[in-house]
């Protein structure tokens, strides 16, 4: 097995932004973190000895001296434990392993204009975008949507930005005229959006209706793997059988059983964890596989997808 990717770090400080949002500043024990491109995420590993949680979060900022990385974590309503653990037990000094830093949501550097649309926690990748876009003198606008009680928190987050280019809205996108604004954008504008699924769906449909070419529309889904019916996975090469519980992912069950399974983003967005299915029917929940691949039923992304059948046989 390849050497473990990542960097040992610990929580340096914690700041509450809203009752459900906390900012965590991570510090590297030795040396510095590598530079990160805007839109990157880090898969973090943390825990209390009883359980190891592995969650991916957008990197909001890397400090100038490279010693600190900042992430913002939302207490997820259907948390499988990771975000709750960080909110309840993520105090300064807690060790955190920063693994697989990667970028699945980069700025399109050739774009003439960038329109950023976010809702709620979906602001996080854009906090790194804004710094970059401003520093290179790019043409950009951010519209952020949130609940009324969170307005002041997000305005504070954006306080240092160019206020002519950022707007915080507490009404729905459909109510403030976002569809009209999209309609008025020039043909060279690239649209980026990130937020809860309902927001994502609305922007997806609206940009499509406004005639944006697919190559000019970019999104990142914050995907929390949901649980489901327990099932059993059979590893064809060894014949081993591993139970996947209702509240754990297939990938977590494999890792728990010390199976060397591939993975990267842990959120159904990158495709690195694709494994061949030999028997059983996958319940696809990812954003990567094509319709044809889904229909074939012979590949599954273990980080988010589950089984429709009682057993799933994998080529592992």
């Amino acid at each position: 097995m390849a050497e473990r990717m990542g960097f040992p770090a610990f929580i340096e400080r914690v700041e509450g932004l809203t009752p459900t949002l906390r900012r965590f500043v991570l510090r590297k024990e030795k040396q510095i973190f590598p530079p990160v491109s805007p839109g990157s995420y880090a898969a973090l590993e943390f825990g209390d000895g009883e359980k190891v949680y592995k969650n991916a979060y957008s990197i909001v900022e890397r400090s100038e001296d490279g010693r600190e990385l900042t992430v913002i974590v939302r207490l997820a309503p259907q948390s499988r434990g990771g975000s709750r653990f960080l909110h309840e037990k993520g105090r300064s000094g807690l060790p955190v392993w920063v693994g697989s830093v990667a970028n699945l949501f980069p700025i399109v550097k050739t774009a003439r204009r960038h329109l950023l649309l976010s809702a709620g926690i979906g602001i996080t990748p854009f906090l790194s975008y804004l710094r970059k876009l401003r520093s290179i003198g790019a043409d950009y606008t951010l519209h952020h949507f949130c609940r009324a009680e969170e307005r002041s928190a997000f305005e504070a987050l954006l306080a240092e930005q160019d206020q002519a280019r950022v707007s915080v809205h507490t009404a729905l996108p459909s109510e403030v005229g976002l569809a009209d604004w999209l309609q008025d954008e020039a043909i060279a504008t690239h649209v980026y959006f990130c937020g809860p699924e309902g927001f994502m769906k609305w922007v997806e449909e609206t940009t499509h209706r406004c005639g944006f070419a697919p190559g000019k529309v970019h999104s990142e889904h914050f995907f929390v793997p949901e649980g489901g019916r327990p099932f059993e996975v059979i590893l064809a090469r060894s014949g081993r059988k591993i139970a996947v519980k209702a509240d754990e992912t297939l990938l977590e069950a494999l890792e728990q059983a010390d199976v060397d399974a591939p993975c990267m983003c842990r959120g159904g967005a990158c495709g690195a964890c694709a494994v061949t299915v030999l028997d059983g029917q996958p319940d696809h929940r990812d954003h990567v596989l094509t319709e044809a691949e889904r229909a074939s039923g012979n590949v599954i992304l273990t980080c988010v997808s589950r089984a429709k059948t009682d057993t799933l046989t994998l080529d592992l």
Binding site: A2, M5, P34, P35, V36, S37, G39, S40, S100, V101, A102, N103, P106, V108, K109, T110, G215, M264, C270, G271, A272
Partner: protein
């Protein structure tokens, strides 16, 4: 590296390139088996490997000074061998940092780097360069950061922007290429610049290769070997200069084949760059004449078998048609048919 610090090599007429015994044995011979067909043959670029050429991030060998001098001459004659599109500025600094960090770490006797915040001091003792500059401030370097660094490294380099699930050739310095042109390929996508390669497309190699590269992670570089053949030790076999080197292909005779025909191997390494999310493609070219390959029994036998049985479409694509049979006939008496170990190591 065997301590050569002056220009001894000539990569244009009158040719003069000699390989020490050490250099011959560290050559990245490209054939792990007796026959050759395209494959993805990508492996992690970790320290160490079957030959010494793979033991550092960027390989520096006894031809360093000569190759850098040849590169400078080519760039003086044709400055457009180095081109970088403006949106690749971050990637240029990424490249400079990777180059300076790894050369100074791997070869502290030849290169030193001192960093005080963004104030850096770079010293290249082989080329007598001492340069203080501010990292991120292009005005403090004599050339743009990519060009500055690439001039001080052996081999070719291209920079690739990643967007729309594809890789775009948006920068590079290419002076030792095997008959392809940066000027022609600039701005092309992965499939576009690979389009001339026969067979590989229908084999699905490019689809898998691209998917693999899009997932390439920072800190996990990968490598592969590619090969062709070149007449005379010419680094510059560019399409632009075909009128200069093309006729060499017709000059091979049974008498001069061992001297003239060179196996040309590219040690290709790929890196995800952290600031820009771009991919660096480094193509380090090694030239070894048949007469030097003859000194390694395993390699001369294997080369004979590979060339003898090579698919005609591949032989044509690689430009070997005019002299392949001459090489095979020359090597045939030196191949006793004994079975050879798998892998590229010399024994």
């Amino acid at each position: 590296m065997s301590g050569q610090t002056h220009v001894r090599d000539s990569y244009r007429p009158p040719f003069h390139v000699e390989n020490s015994a050490e250099t011959i044995l560290r050559f990245p011979f490209p054939f792990p088996e007796d026959s050759y067909m395209y494959s993805m043959n990508v492996e992690p670029h970790v320290r160490g490997g079957p030959v010494d050429a793979m033991s550092h991030t960027f390989d520096v060998d006894e031809h360093y000074v000569g190759e850098c001098a040849e590169k400078a001459r080519i760039l003086a004659e044709d400055p457009k061998r180095c081109m970088v599109l403006p949106h690749m500025r971050d990637a240029e600094w990424d490249f400079l940092e990777l180059g300076m960090d790894s050369l100074s770490t791997d070869y502290p006797e030849h290169f030193t780097l001192k960093k005080e915040g963004n104030d850096w001091l770079w010293e290249n003792h082989l080329l007598n360069i001492s340069q203080s500059f501010v990292f991120g401030d292009e005005a403090t370097l004599p050339q743009a950061p990519f060009e500055y660094m690439a001039r001080q490294m052996q081999g070719d380099f291209t920079l690739h922007d990643q967007r729309e699930n594809d890789l775009w050739m948006d920068g590079g310095m290419v002076t030792s290429q095997a008959d392809w042109s940066l000027k022609f390929d600039m701005g092309m996508s992965f499939r576009q610049w690979h389009a001339p390669v026969p067979k590989a497309s229908e084999m699905g190699i490019f689809d898998r290769g691209l998917r693999f590269l899009l997932m390439l992670q920072y800190g996990r570089p990968v490598r592969r070997l590619n090969w062709t053949m070149t007449i005379n030790p010419r680094l510059d076999t560019s399409p632009e200069n075909y009128m200069i080197w093309g006729e060499d292909r017709a000059s091979v005779t049974p008498e001069n084949v061992a001297e003239k025909v060179h196996l040309r191997v590219e040690l290709q390494t790929l890196y995800r760059l952290p600031r820009s999310n771009a991919i660096l493609f480094a193509i380090r070219c090694y030239l070894l004449p048949i007469k030097d390959i003859m000194t390694v029994p395993k390699w001369r036998k294997r080369l004979h078998r590979v060339l003898r049985d090579l698919d005609p479409a591949l032989a044509s694509y690689k430009g070997l048609d005019l002299y392949r049979s001459t090489v095979v006939e020359f090597l045939r008496p030196y191949d006793d048919g004994a079975s050879l170990s798998t892998g590229i190591q010399p024994v």
